[in-house]
């Protein structure tokens, strides 16, 4: 059984983790086109090589990122999301028309 080196908890059996999907930067939902948005929602890189992806250590509910080779299954490194997200992210009011809800 594979071992993942969790940035918070150290090396643990993979059964303690939940896969969280490819790391996909979100386009600005306020300004992107429908096609760009659909691409973000549905499409994946699905590369045969090193990918960046989300993982969660299930018992501690800790989310982190990993870089893993999707053919050899080697985990190159794992790291805290703070490396990519260091400050508060804000959304701007939508440009599109507003419908009274």
């Amino acid at each position: 059984m594979k071992i993942i080196n969790c940035p918070l908890n150290g090396p643990r059996n993979i059964s303690e983790f939940t896969y969280g999907g490819e790391f996909k930067p979100m386009p600005d939902p306020g300004t992107c086109s429908d096609a760009e948005w659909a691409d973000y929602v549905f499409n994946s890189e699905n590369r045969a090589g090193v990918v960046r992806e989300w993982w969660m250590h299930t018992p501690s509910s800790y989310w982190f990122l990993a870089e893993r080779h999707t053919v050899s299954d080697e985990i190159i490194r794992t790291f805290d999301a703070r490396e990519l997200f260091s400050s508060r992210l804000d959304f701007h009011p939508p440009q599109s028309r507003e419908i009274a809800g």
């Binding site: 059984m1 400050s87 507003e98």
Partner: protein, 969 residues
């Protein structure tokens, strides 16, 4: 009970002559000793014919005596397909043969062997299907003929368990290499786990011979064992099979009724090699066995394998076997060496013992009497050297009742190839070798291509030191050096016979021609040969067929053997009982703190996710009546329901409202303290995935409920989003920390007033959709006024440890008001009467808010929420379907949930909820219907049981109390 085949001590390393055991085989009584395997005990009694082969029903006896072949699969009372040569003998064991019609000795299906010409490789693909439908006739017959043993369908699982082990170095195989490696590493300070499949350690040292004098093996074995067994750093697991290699050196080791899951920092495989058969006509007869099998019989079990033997060999080990046989009183009629010349010392040893010696020759055919039950002679021919497998036109007949053969060795490669090791064929040495192992995994000994005993020992020692070094330990010792190797593999031990029965795969009854013909038909890749011919797909999984198949396929397709290769090695190494893999059964489920009360009240429990909840309070067969009565009671008096399984999340901090704003569709920034709002959640695709109630208890404190089965996922999603948004908020999943009870009905206020001294429960003081914190029955509680069932009601949330007390207090206070519990099914009816949607019952994976009239719950003014952009896109498209309420008159055939709504010849939707409502005197339900069928007043056809179509009427929701007055009291 003829035991004259037993040899005197010191033969019989494994048996205890002081413990005789009685057993039976096919009804006949025999005696063996403790330590015997079933096969060795039978052979000691002269019984060699143990099974009939898969396709041709040929008589078979042991080939390896090591559990590596399927020739001796027998049936035990509760278990089929037992390896007789691996299963220990037990007192009173009743053993049966398998796969015969009549008796093992007289199998009526043996005629199939005569028709083998009509059953060429893959014959079943070329026939049995014409005319159309014929396969339906043939299949049951063929299915009955296929299969080996019979499964006992009444067998109940026994106790098997699992344990974890951690070690610095796992050494797999305690032969000379493994023992030496374990010592080398342990002496450097490594913690070593030594895993050995056999009951005794030593590997080939326990049964083989390495010198003419014949004592080196035992002396060396003793010496190594003394060092290993006493060593503080070495733990030995014997009778233990390492059955696979999994990522990061995770090793399942099966011993007795336990599977150890071993995690090793370093792993060293010293698994040895498989002695290989020679291929010639009738090489499968009882009495034809591998050289090592004969040695095992003699040394381990003290069984004389025959009276008069012929030894056929392609290496020096056959000579040692001949010497062993001679020493134990077996007349060796000849040693037939496939090679042209032999080691002079060995030749002399044969000469001294008057053993006839033939070189450059092979057994061309093993001979037998009618019935083929035992070999009774061989025909020996010289190898003509004119091509692969060519022999002279005539030969010499020798009588014998035992034929021992060894064509060479195949490394026990399975674990290593499972780990990614690659096999390459060395044309010079005519053997496969391994490379490309992952980090922290190594191989040593004969599995690593070392064959001379001193080289094996050196390899083990070096590997042990390497492992210690990799562990970061101090390694003082020098590397041992290697001597030149004598080749052990004869490069073409395959002698096809025009009449066939020259078996390449014993399990599948495949002859040389079958392999060749498969390639001629066009299946040239060895994987295709395997799939088309089934070579290697039987119980022994290619241990003896992989090497000859690679050679034959390479020759037939004009490629080299490395290119051809062998088929993929897959776990498990040895067939493993499901019981071992499954371990003990664990079946966790969750109960609320009030569980006992539900049972006492006669609840019919139902699973809700992993929880147990009361469906209603009554017997299963009274469902309808109980539901209607409970519902009436809630509408006219007061009821209570345990809703503890509901998800609960505490959201606190300056950005609490902002988080909710982004996670849910509604707006929360301006939600007043003391009020609740509907919390609808969509995923990024815009599909509705959960709902609940969001209560604001303070500026920076929200409490959100969620569905029972959705809450954990929602909690995880919130954390994942916030890992990116980095809002200043704490999110806690308090589902299990809190319990909740919903008290509902016109009299619910009266019940609660008795228990809440510090709360103003009046309509003005605690209006509909408000939330309060207060004390209920002395317990600190959160109260929410929600309208799910459409009656005046209060949802009371308390710490879980007070759940039972709360329930009891409510029941007690409510007694005078005739309070009754109601269950999940009743609640479903009540909410249906109000037209409320249940997520994942009335929504599917694609439902978006507009389809269920929840546009009102979607805020258009806030900057962002998960799924928002997708909703914009979806709502710009014409609506295809809508969830509508429908009614049918009482007495009409009632649609079941899942029945279809039609639009002409097409399916336009489906019924998601449907019940008879006594309150309304009608059948009511929710269903998806086509957008153009969804106006109130329209009729929608619903196809119910028996293909009857009823016309239901679309109505506005809610069905009951359309002004929603009752919940607002």
């Amino acid at each position: 009970m003829n035991s004259s085949n037993r040899l005197p001590a010191p033969m019989g390393l494994l048996i205890d002559r002081d413990q005789p055991l009685d057993f039976s085989f096919d009804g006949k009584s025999y005696q063996g000793f403790k330590g015997d395997s079933i096969a060795s005990a039978l052979l000691a009694n002269g019984r060699f014919l143990l099974s009939r082969s898969f396709k041709y029903h040929r008589p078979r006896g042991p080939l390896t005596m090591a559990g590596q072949d399927a020739n001796s699969l027998v049936q035990l009372p509760r278990e089929p397909n037992v390896l007789a040569d691996a299963h220990p003998l037990e007192a009173g064991l009743e053993v049966q043969g398998q796969n015969f019609n009549g008796s093992l000795d007289n199998d009526r299906d043996a005629y199939l062997g005569k028709f083998s010409k009509f059953m060429p490789v893959g014959f079943y693909y070329r026939s049995f299907y014409k005319p159309k439908g014929m396969w339906k006739v043939w299949e049951p017959i063929i299915r009955k003929k296929a299969g080996l043993g019979v499964l006992d369908l009444t067998f109940q699982p026994e106790y098997y368990d699992k344990a974890y082990l951690f070690t610095d170095l796992a050494v797999i195989g305690a032969g000379p290499a493994g023992l030496q490696a374990a010592l080398a590493a342990a002496n450097c300070g490594a913690q070593v786990l030594l895993i050995e499949q056999q009951p005794v350690l030593g590997g080939a040292l326990a049964y083989a011979r390495f010198d003419i004098a014949g004592n080196r093996a035992e002396n060396l074995r003793r010496e190594l064992l003394d060092a290993v067994l006493g060593h503080a750093n070495i733990r030995v697991l014997s009778n233990a099979t390492c059955n696979a290699w999994f990522t990061d050196n995770y090793l399942p080791v099966i011993q007795g009724k336990r599977m150890y899951k071993v995690r090793a920092r370093q792993c060293l495989v010293c698994s040895g090699s498989f002695d290989q058969p020679v291929i010639f006509r009738n090489n499968d007869l009882p009495g034809v066995m591998l050289c090592s099998a004969a040695q095992r019989l003699m040394k381990l079990y003290a069984v004389k394998p025959g009276q008069r033997a012929v030894v056929l060999t392609g290496n020096d080990d056959g000579y040692y076997t001949a010497l062993d046989l001679h020493d134990q009183g077996v007349e060796v009629a000849a040693l037939v060496d496939l090679r042209n010349s032999a080691d002079p010392a060995l030749s002399r040893a044969l000469e001294q013992r008057k053993i006839p010696h033939l070189t450059g020759s092979t057994v061309y055919e093993a001979l037998h009497e009618k019935g083929m039950r035992h070999v009774n002679g061989v025909e020996v021919r010289t190898i003509s050297g004119q091509g692969q497998g060519q022999v002279s036109d005539s030969g010499l007949r020798l009588d014998c009742d035992l034929l021992c053969m060894s064509a060479g060795y195949m490394p026990v490669y399975q674990l290593l190839c499972q780990a990614g090791g690659k096999l390459a064929y060395d044309d010079q040495k005519a053997e496969f070798n391994l490379s490309g192992l992952p980090a922290n995994l190594a191989v040593a000994g004969s599995a690593n291509g070392r064959h001379g005993l001193d080289n094996v020992l050196a390899d083990g020692a070096n590997a042990g030191l390497d492992a210690a070094r990799a562990l970061g330990l101090d390694v003082g010792a020098e590397r041992a050096s290697y001597a030149r190797e004598t080749p052990v593999n004869f490069d073409w031990p395959i002698f096809p016979h025009p009449k066939g029965k020259d078996f390449v795969d014993f399990d599948e009854d495949l002859q040389v021609r079958d392999i060749i013909n498969a390639t001629k038909i066009g299946y040239r890749d060895v994987q295709l040969v395997k799939r088309y011919s089934t070579v290697g797909m039987g119980p022994s999984q290619g241990r003896h067929s992989a090497l000859p198949t690679a050679r034959l396929v390479a020759a037939s397709t004009q490629r080299n053997i490395s290119e051809t290769g062998v088929t993929t090695a897959r776990p498990p190494f040895v067939a493993e009982k499901l019981a071992h893999v499954a371990g003990r059964a664990f079946d966790p489920y969750r109960q609320t703190p009030m569980h006992r009360r539900h049972l006492e009240a006669g609840a019919k429990m139902m699973p809700a996710g992993i929880w147990q909840r009361p469906a209603f309070y009554g017997k299963a067969e009274d469902r309808e009546r109980c539901m209607q009565e409970e519902a009436r009671h809630v509408r006219t008096k007061v009821g209570l329901i345990d809703v503890s399984t509901l998800g609960g999340l505490d959201i606190r901090g300056p950005d609490a409202a902002e988080l909710l704003n982004r996670m849910y569709t509604f707006a929360f920034l301006k939600q007043p303290v003391g009020r609740s709002r509907y919390a609808l959640m969509t995923n990024e695709q815009g599909a509705v995935i959960d709902d609940g109630v969001c209560a604001r208890f303070a500026e920076e404190h929200f409490y959100v409920t969620a569905t029972t089965s959705g809450v954990d996922r929602i909690y995880q999603q919130m954390l994942k989003w916030n890992a990116q948004w980095r809002l200043d908020v704490d999110i806690a999943n308090v589902t299990a920390a809190l319990c909740a009870v919903n008290v509902a009905g016109p009299d619910s206020r009266k019940v609660l007033e008795k228990l809440c001294p510090d709360l103003d429960l009046s309509a003005e003081g605690f209006p509909y959709l408000a939330v309060r914190q207060g004390t209920v029955a002395g317990i600190k509680a959160r109260l929410l006024r929600v309208g799910f069932v459409g009656e005046l009601g209060y949802e009371i949330h308390v710490p879980a440890r007070h759940g039972l007390a709360l329930w009891d207090a409510l029941v007690s206070a409510g007694q005078v008001h005739d309070i009754r519990p109601f269950g999940v099914e009743t609640q479903r009816l009540l909410r249906l009467e109000k037209g409320h949607v249940i997520i994942s019952q009335d929504t599917d994976g694609m439902t978006h808010p507009a389809e269920i009239d929840m546009g009102w719950a979607v805020s258009r003014t806030k900057p962002f929420f998960v799924g928002r952009r997708s909703l914009d896109i979806l709502e710009a498209q014409p609506l295809k379907r809508k969830l509508v309420g429908f009614t049918l008159p009482k007495g009409s055939p009632q649609p079941l949930e899942g029945h279809l709504v039609l639009d002409g010849p097409d399916i336009s939707g489906n019924v998601t909820s449907c019940e008879y409502s006594a309150s309304l005197g009608r059948i009511i339900g929710l269903a998806y219907a086509g957008a153009r069928q969804s106006e109130p007043g329209q009729q929608i056809p619903i196809r119910v049981e028996g293909a009857i179509v009823v016309m239901a009427t679309v109505v506005k929701l809610p069905f009951f109390d359309p002004e929603n007055l009752r919940q607002g009291l």
